[in-house]
């Protein structure tokens, strides 16, 4: 009986391969795990055969300790079940796969303290880079995170954030302000004059930017923002904020802007549950263009954000040693759909 893969209780080591092939450790290493040095063809074959026979796979941890650098990218998201982050993650994963990197994922649950803890824990992996997709907040409570990030950068790790960067943090940004402004303007063009905004907590950068942009665009088209409600980024937040709004009273023909599609979709449900009809009666617009935005009825007017592509870019930005940054934030396109029918 030959010494097959299944017969051993723990993984074959490079040592095993070298012995099996009758060569030195050094030679085996050079053959199997990419080295600049040449190895004679006869040796190469022997080693490769031995490796195949033993089912050898390099121990990445050992490789990382020896090389002093890992093949890991860490990805931090607020909530992986949220389609926004799901698509982002898909882009990151694709890029990582192309580059032969492994991605480890951590969930912040939108909690700054937790986020700091996670960055610290991830630091232990000595990843090549860290992609921060969790919603960045203004500095106040983000200090812990900031400190961990600096520590990470100081030990030679690259950090890229989706959204504003700063300091050692590279940034892949979309033009939230411009996109929201265009949306606001387009809506006044459709005849809307009164708006309600459903946003996240003050200080959450993405939300703040979208609110500011929308307000700007809507005002410039002679509209007025009746009020801005603050909650969070989830469907439930959208639902409860909208319910609150409806209780205060919402005139027919008002447009409700949710700072993300998920929020807007929650609002849609709330409107329906209050016995009103989204679209004709109360118009709704979102932001992100997640796939679901096309599947709800009425389908959702929104601003397209190329999420998957963004994730991919973030990955590129993090692995490129001399990344200079994108010139400007990515411009975004408005998509008018049925949830905002023209008011004549």
């Amino acid at each position: 009986m030959t010494d097959t893969v299944a017969s051993q209780r723990s993984a074959a080591t490079l040592h095993d391969v070298a012995r099996e092939a009758g060569v030195s450790l050094a030679t085996a290493s050079r053959v199997l795990n990419g080295s600049a040095r040449k190895v004679a063809e006869s040796y190469r074959e022997r080693v490769e055969e031995a490796a195949a026979r033993l089912g050898y796979t390099a121990n990445l941890s050992a490789q990382a300790t020896a090389r002093g650098t890992s093949a890991i990218i860490a990805l931090l998201v607020a909530d992986i079940a949220d389609p926004y982050f799901g698509q982002l993650a898909a882009g990151v994963a694709r890029g990582a796969d192309e580059a032969g990197l492994v991605v480890t994922i951590a969930i912040t649950e939108r909690d700054a303290e937790r986020e700091a803890r996670l960055v610290r824990a991830l630091r232990g992996q000595r990843p090549q880079g860290l992609i921060l997709a969790a919603s960045r907040t203004e500095d106040e409570d983000g200090d812990g995170v900031r400190a961990e990030l600096d520590a990470f950068a100081a030990m030679g790790g690259r950090v890229v954030a989706l959204g504003p960067g700063g300091g050692d943090v590279r940034s892949v940004a979309v033009d939230n302000i411009g996109g929201a402004r265009a949306l606001g303007a387009a809506l006044t063009g459709l005849g809307y004059r009164d708006a309600i905004i459903l946003g996240a907590r003050r200080g959450v950068r993405t939300s703040d930017d979208r609110i500011a942009g929308f307000t700007d665009g809507f005002l410039s088209g002679d509209g007025q923002v009746l009020h801005t409600l603050r909650g969070g980024f989830t469907r439930e937040d959208g639902y409860s904020l909208m319910t609150e709004s409806l209780e205060r009273g919402v005139e027919p023909g008002t447009i409700v802007f949710g700072v993300s599609d998920v929020v807007a979709i929650g609002a849609l449900s709330a409107i329906r549950d209050a016995g009103r009809e989204p679209g004709p009666d109360v118009a709704v617009a979102g932001f992100d263009d997640i796939p679901t935005s096309r599947d709800v009825r009425p389908d959702l007017t929104t601003v397209h954000v190329p999420l998957e592509d963004l994730g991919y870019r973030a990955l590129r930005a993090v692995i490129d040693p001399d990344w200079t940054g994108d010139a400007a934030p990515l411009p975004l396109d408005v998509l008018i759909r049925d949830s905002t029918p023209p008011r004549a």
Copy 2:
């Protein structure tokens, strides 16, 4: 100027901490990285202070090589942007976080060869366990994967699959057959007699089970399955399969069963785009109860699958050294909603 975190270009090592604290490497290790042995309080303090001062975080790779075991769980999904896998991943991530484990994620893109390659690559990380959430197919083309899995198990890694396990593979299963059967029966109870099934490729276990169960339940309620179309698991598959069906001609009052909500939602769109009305005219039912199923109109009749919980269980199953397996597949509940109005 003190020797602060930011002043070094690479991470502080345990050696640095030990020197800074004036103790041996062994003592520093025992204080910082959990050991059964006690260390005098005075020493402990010195070490902890030094570690804090230097911003020390243990190098997980080195730890893994030294200990011979990592703190990693590998998760294999077909497509992380799909809400099904997103929720699953959320559950896995939660469990891993609780257990102090890191999860690395890989995307199979529903390609068996790719899946085999990924398992092999992940093996290099020597993870404690592997969670296989990518759709399992019958053995024919899965041989490569099977072999890699065996190799993984042989070197001491635990594997759990969502769906059927077998061999060294632990399994966390839901009762797809029973759930689908109950759905089929419930629909005949609502007065439906003619069904069309939109499924994935033959051989994809989950799809096959759901089709079999549904057919069984529907027939037993005196219904008939007009035809079963095969495609894939995505929204686009649902859309194109439904379009194909509509071209063949679909009588009013027919029920369309999509093997997943995503497929069903694609069908919904196709029906609408063909100028027909989902629900009253052509009824639709799905499977999984993803959040979106409640947001589409008409909201989708489906079978609830506790995805997040399932992910969590999978994680538990993979880390528990003496896991005995759940007695039976988890029973599933049918949710009748507006997409299948009663006919009578």
